[in-house]
């Protein structure tokens, strides 16, 4: 009997301890040491300790070129500063965002648990940014993305986006503008009156498809069918049959690989679409693995951010080619380069040096980046607005024709330019 009481008491203590641990208030993981002036916490780096920047990009799977391209750009930005800032070496911690919410959550959790990380460049995909910012924002972290474009992360039609969080910034365009650009091109330049849109449920694809639909209808066109596929689908023939039946002259499918591969390959087999419908994709497909490896993409149009045309960009491309043996493989490297430089400049501005110790206030860092105004980057003159959109957006529509052999050629084959 005595053992019973003893065991029960032990069990009760264990349960109470666990409840106590679970119910304790979350201490801000902003690396505070209790004596900070910054309400969001600070990062304190001793002499010689590295300034660590997390880079959360899509570096595996079908969207690997999107992320790898940007990781390389960030590395070039670090190298341009000689690998160090304020006497401390710059270190990069790369994580994979998997271009979707669950992998993005895991990456964000890994980053937020390391209190020495000063800032984040990422994510590649809007779908990963939504849960990542829910983790980063309350923890005081700041994230600048070079390729998120979904309107819900900042603003849509002047209203705050549903996934907008403090501490989020981006140097890439808001898809409201890309939707308008693609719609204007389709309606005015191609003379298309009926279009169909296809998204895959992801915030980026859905945001862009909706933006296109809205602008297209405002111009006077008709959206004959707005439909969707699921990532992982391989048989696109039923949905293509529906699109053909709706009488669309153009199909706008701003999705990712491999679903886009199947659509392009199977469109030729569906009666009513094969030779008559125009296929149009967006910046998620502006990669070498889509344009160069899939022959059926010939003739397709793509909307995407304009490739910069200044001397600094050409220097950047030369450095990229020397370091990695190939030209840039996707469309957002310049944006991530600008993002990293904005972050590093902001760190330089707010860091307080005391002997060999560096103190960086997280709140001060956020405010500094939010105040970015008339910053001359590779992608243009950047000014951050109240919602975190910093880009100087120029959208181009390019086409992949027989003459184009590589993704670089395709990006240079500009048919239309659109500014906000």
């Amino acid at each position: 009997m005595k053992e019973r009481h003893w065991l029960r008491a032990l069990a009760l203590i264990a349960v109470l301890a666990m409840v106590g641990a679970a119910c304790s208030e979350d201490t801000p993981t902003g690396g505070d040491n209790g004596t900070t002036e910054d309400p969001l916490g600070t990062v304190t780096l001793g002499e010689g300790e590295p300034i660590t920047v997390a880079v959360i990009q899509s570096i595996s799977g079908d969207t690997a070129s999107l992320g790898t391209d940007q990781v390389r750009a960030v590395e070039i930005a670090v190298a341009d500063r000689g690998g160090e800032l304020l006497g401390h070496p710059i270190e990069l911690q790369t994580e994979d965002d998997g271009c979707e919410a669950s992998a993005g959550t895991t990456a964000a959790q890994r980053v937020v648990s390391d209190t020495q990380i000063v800032g984040v460049i990422g994510t590649s995909c809007s779908g990963a940014a939504v849960p990542a910012m829910e983790i980063f924002s309350p923890a005081g972290f700041t994230m600048i993305s070079g390729s998120n474009t979904s309107p819900i992360l900042t603003q849509a039609a002047g209203e705050e986006g549903i996934a907008h969080q403090d501490g989020y910034f981006r140097t890439a365009h808001n898809d409201q503008i890309q939707g308008a650009a693609a719609a204007t091109f389709a309606f005015d330049e191609l003379g298309v009156a009926k279009a169909a849109t296809v998204h895959d449920g992801d915030p980026y694809t859905q945001g862009l498809a909706d933006a296109f639909a809205k602008s297209f209808q405002e111009l006077g066109g008709e959206i004959t069918l707005g439909t969707a596929v699921t990532p992982g689908d391989t048989d696109m023939r039923p949905v293509l049959t529906e699109i053909a039946a709706s009488g669309a002259e153009l199909v706008f499918f701003p999705i990712f690989q491999p679903e886009a591969d199947y659509i392009v390959q199977q469109a030729g087999e569906v009666e009513g679409l094969g030779d008559t419908a125009i296929l149009m994709g967006a910046d998620g497909l502006l990669s070498d693995t889509f344009v160069e490896d899939i022959p059926e993409t010939e003739g397709m149009y793509f909307s995407g951010p304009a490739t910069p045309n200044n001397l600094r960009y050409r220097d950047f491309v030369a450095k990229y080619e020397t370091e990695y043996g190939e030209k840039p493989i996707q469309a957002f490297h310049a944006h991530s380069y600008d993002a990293m430089n904005i972050l590093l400049d902001a760190i330089e501005a707010v860091a307080v040096e005391d002997g060999g110790t560096l103190t960086i206030g997280r709140g001060a860092l956020r405010d500094e980046i939010a105040g970015t105004s008339e910053y001359e980057g590779l992608t243009g003159t950047l000014t951050c607005d109240e919602f975190g959109d910093c880009a100087d957006p120029v959208i181009e529509v390019v086409q992949n024709t027989e003459a184009q052999e590589s993704i670089t050629d395709v990006k240079e084959n500009v048919l239309f330019e659109y500014r906000a």
Partner: protein, 356 residues
């Protein structure tokens, strides 16, 4: 008469009533949706027929994979969850062999021979993997509680996925185009793509061969005996171990054919290609009646057809937008409904039941 009805009514539980409501609601919704879609003229008759053909082609792939699940279940009462990966291995090896082959003149001159070589390679690979799986992962666990081989199967599934990823990389592999397979057949008003015709043909031939094997050969008889009663079969002098290996081998061979068929129809394969088709094929096997070979065929075709036509026919007719996004939802709801209407699956009986 009134008495029997009254007696039966008293025996009805709440669950019975609920199930009847579900059955009636399902029928009503399906009818409303279908009638709406068919009368609205949104899709032409030709397009409906096209959708049917897509469904049958997809269903053939599911049916081939489902055969492996159903045979193993019939003999061992065990669901081999690694079977989807056996299918993927077949498809991968088919890719590995067809790519260099496509650069030779054999490809264009003797297309049929080239296709046979690709099929043979894929089948050999998938059969070996299936037999190895049985030997290494399942045989040592015969007699263990049901859950243990189940978990082993999941582990084997991951192992195969990442072994292939390690050997061949994680990227998508594109099948080279088979010459002479572009273009369309017109057949009794149905437009069938040549690739789809080949896939359906392969499936029918494979299943016909399997039927003959099970019904007409000694090994087939041994399989039927072991699935009915393992102990008695052993007492009758049947080598149970060898029979079980044969079952895995045959299932693996079917999956290999399915892998090549998948590569022909969809053009791409990668290390995770086996996951979703594996689940869908298992669903198809259950749908048709697990343990029943005819059931695998019927289940596969039904699932393929339902996935292809279902959203356009029923969901759009009910006014649900973007119905194709709900393709998988529709397929699994069909599974639930079929099991509510007919709990043993469409064809019901198991492999082992003898018709006296």
């Amino acid at each position: 008469m009134a008495e029997t009805i009254a007696r039966k009514a008293r025996r009805l539980t709440t669950i019975d009533i609920f199930l009847w409501v579900v059955r009636i609601a399902a029928v009503v919704f399906i009818l409303i949706g279908s009638v709406n879609s068919l009368t609205s003229g949104r899709l032409s008759a030709q397009q409906w027929r096209d959708l049917l053909v897509f469904g049958v082609a997809q269903g053939s792939v599911y049916a081939l994979i489902a055969l492996g699940y159903t045979m193993v279940y019939g003999v061992l009462r065990f669901i081999n969850f690694a079977h989807g990966e056996v299918f993927m291995v077949g498809g991968m090896i088919g890719y590995v062999v067809s790519t260099p082959l496509s650069r030779t003149s054999l490809w264009t001159d003797q297309t049929i021979l080239a296709m046979i070589i690709v099929l043979l390679a894929a089948v050999m690979a998938s059969t070996s993997v299936a037999v190895l799986l049985e030997r290494v992962a399942y045989r040592p666990l015969r007699g263990a509680p049901r859950l243990v081989p189940f978990i082993t199967a999941i582990g084997a599934s991951f192992f195969l996925q990442y072994a292939i990823a390690g050997l061949f990389g994680t990227g998508f592999k594109n099948y080279p185009a088979f010459p002479g397979l572009s273009g369309v057949f017109e057949f009794a008003g149905f437009r069938v793509l040549k690739t789809q015709a080949v896939v359906i043909g392969m499936a029918l031939v494979a299943m016909g061969a399997l039927y003959l094997f099970i019904e007409r050969t000694r090994a087939g008889r041994a399989i039927r005996a072991v699935s009915e009663d393992q102990e008695t079969a052993r007492l009758m002098g049947i080598n149970v171990d060898r029979t079980i290996s044969t079952v895995f081998a045959v299932g693996g061979a079917m999956a290999g054919v399915a892998g090549v068929a998948y590569g022909i129809v969809f053009g791409q394969i990668y290390f995770l290609s086996g996951f979703v088709p594996g689940i869908k094929a298992f669903t198809a096997a259950v749908l048709g009646g697990i343990g029943n070979i005819g059931g695998a065929f019927v289940g596969g075709m039904t699932l393929g057809g339902v996935e292809s036509i279902g959203p356009s026919l029923v969901l759009t007719g009910l006014g649900i937008p973007s119905s194709n996004q709900l393709k998988d939802v529709f397929a699994f709801i069909t599974l639930v409904l079929v099991l509510i209407f007919r709990p043993t699956g469409i064809l019901g009986e198991r492999l082992s039941e003898e018709r006296v």
